[in-house]
């Protein structure tokens, strides 16, 4: 089985801060990490590899700095890493990004594509389904579990608001995975020792199957009109009081607000 895993390098948004004066992101000192849902996807691929044997190729689109994230993927157990890096991809929205990735997938041999549900910098959850459509593949999103059945079909648990849909899919497909369902392994020390002996292949746009006009900014229907920091509301009162006084304060407020 050949599995492609799509991964993205993202700023760790849990430590992102906003410059209160300029209203811009303070990028300095913010670590770049492998997007958590993507890491969950890699974990699923590696579990399938452990159980059934598979060749796991991680692919990413991004600047050359994404190399370190792909080394991490190799140290976790991926077999091959390809980085799509080209100025022609710059300014891509989700449609243009998924299109570029589809051009790469088309020239690779695969049975299954796994992506994260969404990236923590954009939170769109769009690239996976858009990629599936470009490749004319069936998709299953919000994947919480997946296994290969005896008939070679894939059985997948999809999480939704009501519970779980158990789905069966025949042939090639694309899954988008929830990080919370796949507790990703750490890199092993021996994996780390070998990570820089392997090659991270850097591919430009002319190595993949795409029309140039549909890449990057030109291929992106959406544009950012403006961005601005979130307005913060003024903090209320904070009281350090005994539990008895706390109960009084809360009850009074609940009465004022007509909640009780």
């Amino acid at each position: 089985m050949n599995i492609i895993v799509c991964v993205k390098q993202v700023p760790d948004t849990t430590v992102v801060k906003i410059d209160p004066v300029k209203g811009t992101l303070i990028r300095e000192g913010v670590p770049s990490i492998m997007n958590p849902d993507d890491k969950g996807g890699l974990e699923l691929a590696l579990r399938l590899k452990d159980q059934f044997g598979a060749n796991v190729t991680v692919i990413s689109m991004g600047p050359p700095q994404a190399d370190v994230m792909l080394r991490e993927a190799l140290a976790m157990g991926a077999d091959r890493a390809i980085l799509l890096s080209d100025r022609k991809f710059a300014g891509a929205d989700t449609l243009a990004t998924s299109y570029a990735l589809s051009g790469l997938c088309r020239v690779l041999d695969y049975d299954l594509i796994i992506a994260g549900r969404q990236a923590i910098d954009g939170d769109t959850a769009q690239v996976g389904p858009e990629l599936a459509e470009h490749l004319d593949l069936p998709q299953i999103t919000y994947v919480a579990d997946a296994k290969v059945l005896d008939n070679g079909h894939l059985q997948v648990d999809k999480e939704n608001e009501d519970g779980i849909q158990v789905l069966e899919v025949e042939g090639k497909c694309l899954l988008t995975v929830l990080a919370s369902a796949f507790d990703a392994r750490y890199m092993s020390v021996s994996g780390i020792m070998e990570a820089y002996d392997k090659e991270v292949e850097v591919w430009s746009a002319d190595k993949i199957d795409v029309e140039e006009g549909k890449l990057g900014l030109a291929g992106s229907p959406t544009k950012v009109f403006k961005s601005f920091p979130k307005a913060m509301k003024a903090p209320g009162e904070v009281h350090e009081v005994t539990p008895e006084e706390a109960v009084e304060l809360i009850v009074n407020q609940l009465k004022v607000k007509h909640i009780i």
Binding site: T13, T14, V16, K17, T94, L95, I120, D121, D123, T124, A125, Q126, V127, P129, L131, E133, H134, P138, Q139, I140, T141, Q155, E159, N160, E161, D162, G163, I164, Q165, V166, V169, C173, P221, T222, K223, V224, F225, S227, F228, P229, K230, K233, P235, G236, E237, V238, H239, V241, T242, P243, A246, V247, L249, I250, V251, Q253, L254, K257, I259, I260
Partner: protein
């Protein structure tokens, strides 16, 4: 493509097991504002099996027209079946705007459609406006949180149609229901290509629904790491019971398996805006705040006086929730008995 050919604001009216989801009504409310600003119509797309009699409700919540696709293929949500139907409606009817709920269904379907129609999609919007562009033409502006809720971004889709977005449940206001409001119900029969139906539904496992949807709740008693365990949440449940509310959770207590994912408030959970949000033992990471700071009234109880939750709380109590919550429960019981 001539943009002028595209008209009307379409809403994907999500139903699950035949029940129209609240987010569909919220979207109709917003679509009504947008359509009025554009001088266009609100059209709801209602897909499923045996759901036609629900169309009138959508009209009463603001739709001018409901396109009903009633087909056995659409009984349960499956990406390809729904994509074919919605895709064909859009190609046929050429809407200028299409709105979907940012639910697991909407976030599965909308990008599939966007990629099929090669148009733009903006995810998880919290604000949608029509504003004049530089030429004075009305422009659809979609605002959404980015970078884990640290930043807001306004997105436009200037050259492609339809302009599409998903909207988080609980963000938009639905219209007051107008009983007897009139509109058109149209049936649409898509041409299904069954050769592409590669995914089969084996079974559905319902989650243990001890809790109703927290995004619907008017009162939420929410717990974080400071609640410690299931027993701690029992105390919160007792308080929620006397207040007639529900229990919610921070991500930490979902990740460690104490609470189910449906209870999670925040960036990767649900957005809530209840009348009262009581945050107990929740430190208030920005991802959590993103999901609850629109609540009308926020009370925070936390041992750590430096907890960021206090920056959004209307009333902050530095103290031990394990003492305060049970006392408060007893006290409110007495108040209500009066």
């Amino acid at each position: 493509m001539d943009k002028k050919d595209y008209k009307n604001v379409f809403v994907f009216a999500e139903q699950r097991e035949g029940v129209i989801q609240p987010v569909a009504l919220e979207l109709l409310g917003k679509a009504r504002d947008l359509a009025d600003a554009l001088g266009e119509k609100v059209v709801a797309m209602l897909l499923g099996e045996g759901i036609k009699d629900q169309a009138q409700m959508l009209i009463e919540f603001g739709a001018d027209e409901v396109i009903v696709v009633d087909a056995p293929e659409l009984k349960d949500f499956l990406s390809e079946q729904y994509s074919q139907a919605v895709g064909q409606i859009i190609l046929d009817r050429k809407p200028s705007i299409v709105l979907y709920g940012a639910t697991t269904i909407g976030r599965d379907l909308a990008p599939r459609i966007a990629s099929r129609l090669k148009t733009g999609l903006t995810a998880d919007c919290t604000k949608l406006d029509i504003e004049p562009d530089k030429d004075g033409e009305p422009e659809f502006r979609m605002t959404r949180p980015a970078f884990g809720g640290n930043l807001m971004a306004t997105i436009i889709c200037p050259n492609n149609r339809p302009q599409m977005s998903t909207v988080r449940p609980g963000v938009m206001q639905k219209m007051q229901r107008q009983a007897g409001r009139e509109g058109i119900v149209t049936e649409f029969a898509p041409k299904f290509d069954a050769s592409k139906f590669k995914v089969k539904l084996v079974k559905t496992i319902k989650a243990d629904k001890t809790v109703a949807d927290i995004s619907e709740a008017k009162i939420l008693v929410s717990g974080g790491r400071g609640v410690h365990d299931k027993e701690g949440f029992d105390k919160l449940q007792a308080l929620a019971d006397v207040l007639g509310g529900q229990v919610a959770s921070s991500r930490a207590m979902v990740d460690n398996g104490v609470m189910p994912h449906e209870c999670q408030v925040g960036q990767t959970g649900k957005t809530v805006r209840p009348n009262l949000y009581m945050a107990c033992g929740i430190s208030g990471a920005i991802q959590h705040l993103a999901g609850m700071e629109e609540s009308d009234f926020i009370i925070a109880i936390n041992k750590d006086k430096f907890a960021p939750i206090f920056s959004v709380a209307d009333l902050g109590i530095v103290g031990d929730l394990h003492k305060i919550v049970p006392m408060l429960t007893e006290r409110i019981k007495k108040e209500l008995e009066k």
